[in-house]
């Protein structure tokens, strides 16, 4: 194996590597909406009604995942249904799967794949839960959650009942699920499922909110609805799951869950879960390693913002924005609440960095839904993308804020502060709408991360990253052997020749109701070579690679034999 590695490495070194002009720390991030060119004319349909049902503004999630293993990211969109029947009575309500044909062209394969969905869909979580090498989908919704097993032949099978992941709650019936995420909380090598539930709702009991005159009815504040517990399903490794919400402690906490994100925030080798709640304190579930989770949001300082108040938590991401090796939390909220940024202090506690980072002032006017901490200009620092739009469709009648908003991009300056550069990101980035879901991944494998964003009742946006002056990059496609096959939860430390280290944790659970590319993307600025890559797999094994060239997608397989300090098997999957 060592010999094979050396040969591969030697090949890599002589392969021609396309490089762009290197200019570090540019702020010229630009996007172009290529939805039309990509033949994606999909429109999310929430069946908006004058009744202002609470479920209407809450869709729609999106997933970027490679369902057919051709090395190209495909796209799955969630969609609504007829209200109040909550059935996909017409094709316009179908969820959609688009196959990436290369060259930024896509084909609608929903029917062929059999993934049109059922009920009023909300969100989606993609991962290979059965370790068969094919990425599966879990789709959340108001009245139906669906687990689609990828058969590997371009089709999916609904295995929800068989797997036991219907999201039925003993005291509530089918829970209104918004988000979900795959993670291996017990490090047993298969992915478990955390389902995030929102609130108790039925069409018959939706109250009237807002002024009683035409056009003034509003969606109600979450305080009008009862909270729900979340659900943790343990993967038994045989296609079935067991609801361990009670024994894990997850089910003890009632909230109004929206976004979820995973990271090992305390460095104990166990994945923890952050759930942002809507107008309710956030939860940070610390994994105790014995099958139990302790909710430590208050102690950790992420339950509330420094004002001691809740915000309308929407989407979240859990990555290291300041390069200190500790994952931090970014989340979105509504106008006048600001977007919280919690910096991990490394002692089990976080600090609210909204104002010191400049985000507080810059986000005051905006409402955000899905989000992602992504290095869009490949300078080594994670920027913040926010899908913009108010929860209300008639906010202008009540306040100075707009309902339809553009997305936002906050560039990481690398000194702990962020700069709102949204208006410099190109004309297509200025499109307003009721943006909701967003997922991130490199659709054309050019090293620049793209964003796919949904908006209510309007065409989705495929935001192709066309940043001209971005730096070098590296994308890691992990394959776990002892660990879960997707390698979710693996921590990668990338050290540059300059000695600077970058840290990422593998996850698909990013933002709001959405699922991003499982591959790990690094921007490395001016450096054409990486001094070392250290991967710590779930379960604790690690492997190190030295002198790794950049500007390529590397497939890295976990070295099950040389698990500690070994080099592992890796291959140049897509050199650029």
């Amino acid at each position: 194996m060592r010999c094979r590695l050396l040969i591969t490495l030697a090949l890599l070194l002589v392969l021609p590597i396309a490089t762009r002009p290197l200019r570090a720390r540019q702020n010229g991030i630009r996007f172009r909406d290529v939805a039309a060119r990509a033949s994606i004319g999909f429109t999310v349909d929430n069946n908006e009604t004058p009744h202002k049902y609470q479920i209407e503004p809450m869709i729609a999630g999106v997933a970027l995942f490679d369902y057919n293993n051709d090395g190209l990211l495909d796209i799955y969109f969630c969609n609504g249904a007829q209200i109040p029947q909550l059935e996909k009575t017409e094709e316009k309500y179908f969820n959609r799967l688009y196959r990436n044909q290369g060259g930024l062209r896509f084909e609608d394969v929903t029917d062929k794949a059999g993934v049109a969905g059922a009920g009023y869909s909300m969100g989606v979580a993609a991962a290979d839960y059965n370790n068969d090498g094919w990425v599966d989908l879990y789709v959340t919704g108001v009245n139906r959650n669906v687990l689609y097993r990828n058969r590997g032949d371009g089709t999916f099978e609904d295995v929800t009942e068989k797997a036991g992941v219907t999201a039925e709650l003993k005291d509530y019936g089918k829970a209104w699920s918004v988000g979900a995420g795959w993670f291996d909380y017990d490090n047993d090598g298969d992915l478990d499922l955390l389902v995030v539930n929102y609130c108790v709702w039925s069409s018959e009991k939706d109250p009237y909110c807002g002024a009683r005159k035409p056009g003034y009815r509003t969606y109600c504040h979450p305080k009008h609805y009862g909270p729900l517990p979340n659900i943790l399903y343990r993967n038994e490794g045989d296609g079935r799951f067991t609801d361990v919400s009670a024994e894990s402690g997850i089910g003890e906490h009632l909230g109004k869950g929206m976004g979820v994100a995973f990271a090992d925030f305390d460095g104990d080798g166990l994945l923890d879960a952050f759930i942002c709640n809507d107008a309710h304190r956030n939860f940070l579930f610390r994994n105790d390693g014995d099958g139990r989770f302790e909710e430590v949001g208050l102690q950790a300082g992420v339950a509330y913002i420094d004002e001691g108040t809740v915000v309308s938590g929407m989407g979240a991401d859990f990555q290291d924005y300041d390069g200190d090796g500790r994952p931090d939390i970014f989340m979105t909220a509504l106008s006048n609440e600001t977007f919280p940024l919690f910096r991990n202090l490394g002692n089990g506690m976080f600090r609210d960095e909204r104002y010191p980072s400049g985000l507080g002032t810059q986000s005051l006017a905006w409402s955000g839904w899905s989000t992602g901490m992504v290095d869009f200009d490949n300078d080594g620092w994670l920027d913040l993308f926010v899908a913009g739009g108010h929860v209300q469709t008639n906010e202008e009648l009540y306040s100075s804020r707009d309902s339809r908003q553009p997305n936002r991009l906050f560039r990481n300056r690398g000194d702990g502060s962020f700069e709102d550069i949204s208006e410099q990101c190109g004309a297509d980035f200025q499109q307003t709408g009721l943006h909701r879901g967003a997922a991130f991944g490199d659709l054309d494998n050019d090293g620049r991360v793209d964003a796919v964003v949904t908006r209510l009742n309007e065409k989705v946006e495929i935001l192709h990253n066309v940043t001209a002056s971005s730096g070098h990059w590296l994308i890691l496609d992990l394959e776990g052997v002892g660990a879960n096959r997707d390698g979710l939860g693996a921590v990668v430390k990338l050290t540059l020749e300059s000695g600077q280290s970058l840290f990422r944790q593998a996850t698909t659970t990013v933002g709001y109701a959405s699922s991003s590319d499982k591959r790990i993307h690094f921007g490395v600025g001016k450096e054409s070579k990486v001094r070392s890559l250290e991967i710590t797999w779930p379960g604790g094994s690690s492997q190190i690679m030295n002198q790794v060239p950049t500007d390529r997608v590397l497939h890295i397989k976990q070295d099950a034999v040389h698990s500690h300090g070994g080099t592992g098997e890796w291959a140049d999957f897509f050199s650029n």
Binding site: S335, Y355, P356, A365
Partner: protein
């Protein structure tokens, strides 16, 4: 920056603003010459602003049985102004029973109800006053304030607009309207009316203070800084300096990263009003960000001694305790924080 407003209103406390409104005079002054000796003495005390002694005088007059119904009125207003709301209530209820055609009587009674957070009674009293005299800007302003306190914002807006129509030169009505719009995030309108208030009264430190806060929320940063500085400057030359401009400027400086300057302003706010929780809270928050944990803790404890039921104070104090390594203290205040939210 809307904490001060919401705190004043939602808890219905008799705030500085209440007296600011009432300073226009609620009193249909009687003539000292036409009254008995005791009453004349009490009226003189009243006019000098010695309300405690005046109340005593009117009380004596009533107990001797030599008084007319007007003494109840003055007794009520004297008690109101000396902070004895329950006593004021008894006197003014008696007065309006005897003289139901007195618009001033109803107006003052409404103020007492408002001070006692009996908002429904207050609304009825102000309406009674306005039925007798629809042209009173003050009754409309007070009615609007009750509606703000009860979160009936559309009705509050209507009352403030009416007050403004009745007196175009009164700076208070646009001020109240601007503050209302600020509270409900109608920031463009808030700016417009606070600007109008500041134009009508170029010495209004509160109008400039909140206008600065609105500019900040609108992203008009340089105007925010300029306006807040102006409020602080005006305040410096005021015979009775107000804590609000220092609080608002301190918050602005804190949010824009000027932490040391923020501490200076917030210390002034605390010194000017040692009973305001908001100033302690913001000062503690800034000190926490500066990692001056011991002092942050001290100010939070001070704030909690004023309002032990405020969950925000316990939450921040819990955070400070945790960061100081005092886990027990941290847990205790987190528990208190959560219990006060229920």
């Amino acid at each position: 920056m809307q904490l001060v407003w919401s705190c004043m209103l939602s808890r219905g406390k008799v705030s500085v603003l209440l007296f600011f409104l009432l300073s226009n005079a609620l009193v249909r002054a009687g003539s000292p010459q036409s009254a008995g000796k005791e009453k004349r003495r009490a009226l003189r005390l009243f006019q000098k602003g010695d309300y405690g002694k005046a109340a005593h005088g009117f009380q004596n007059e009533i107990e001797k049985g030599t008084s007319d119904t007007e003494s109840y009125y003055y007794l009520g207003v004297s008690r109101l102004r000396s902070g004895d709301f329950q006593g004021a209530l008894e006197a003014l209820e008696r007065f309006v029973k005897e003289v139901p055609e007195s618009s001033e009587g109803w107006l003052n009674l409404g103020v007492v109800y408002f001070a006692l957070q009996r908002f429904d009674n207050a609304i009825r009293a102000f309406h009674s006053s306005l039925q007798l005299d629809a042209e009173q800007p003050l009754a409309n302003k007070m009615l609007g304030r009750v509606y703000v306190a009860t979160e009936k914002h559309a009705l509050a807006e209507r009352a403030f607009v009416r007050a403004m129509e009745l007196d175009r030169q009164d700076f208070q009505s646009p001020y109240l309207l601007g503050r209302l719009y600020q509270t409900v995030d109608r920031l463009v309108e808030a700016a417009r009316y606070l600007e109008e208030s500041a134009r009508l009264n170029p010495n209004s430190v509160r109008a400039f203070s909140f206008l600065g806060a609105v500019y900040y929320a609108l992203g008009r940063d340089s105007e925010a800084a300029q306006t807040l500085r102006k409020a602080v400057e005006l305040n410096a030359s005021s015979p009775s300096p107000d804590f609000v401009p220092h609080l608002e400027y301190g918050i602005y400086l804190q949010r824009t990263g000027h932490l040391k300057e923020s501490v200076q302003q917030l210390r002034k706010a605390v010194a000017l009003n040692p009973r305001t929780v908001e100033a302690y809270f913001e000062l503690a928050k800034t000190l926490y960000r500066l990692e001056q944990l011991a002092e942050a803790r001290k100010f939070l404890e001070e704030a909690i001694s004023i309002d032990a039921a405020d969950p925000r104070l316990h939450y921040l104090l819990g955070r400070v305790c945790y960061e100081q390594g005092d886990v027990q203290c941290g847990h205790r205040h987190m528990v208190l924080s959560e219990s006060h939210r229920k």
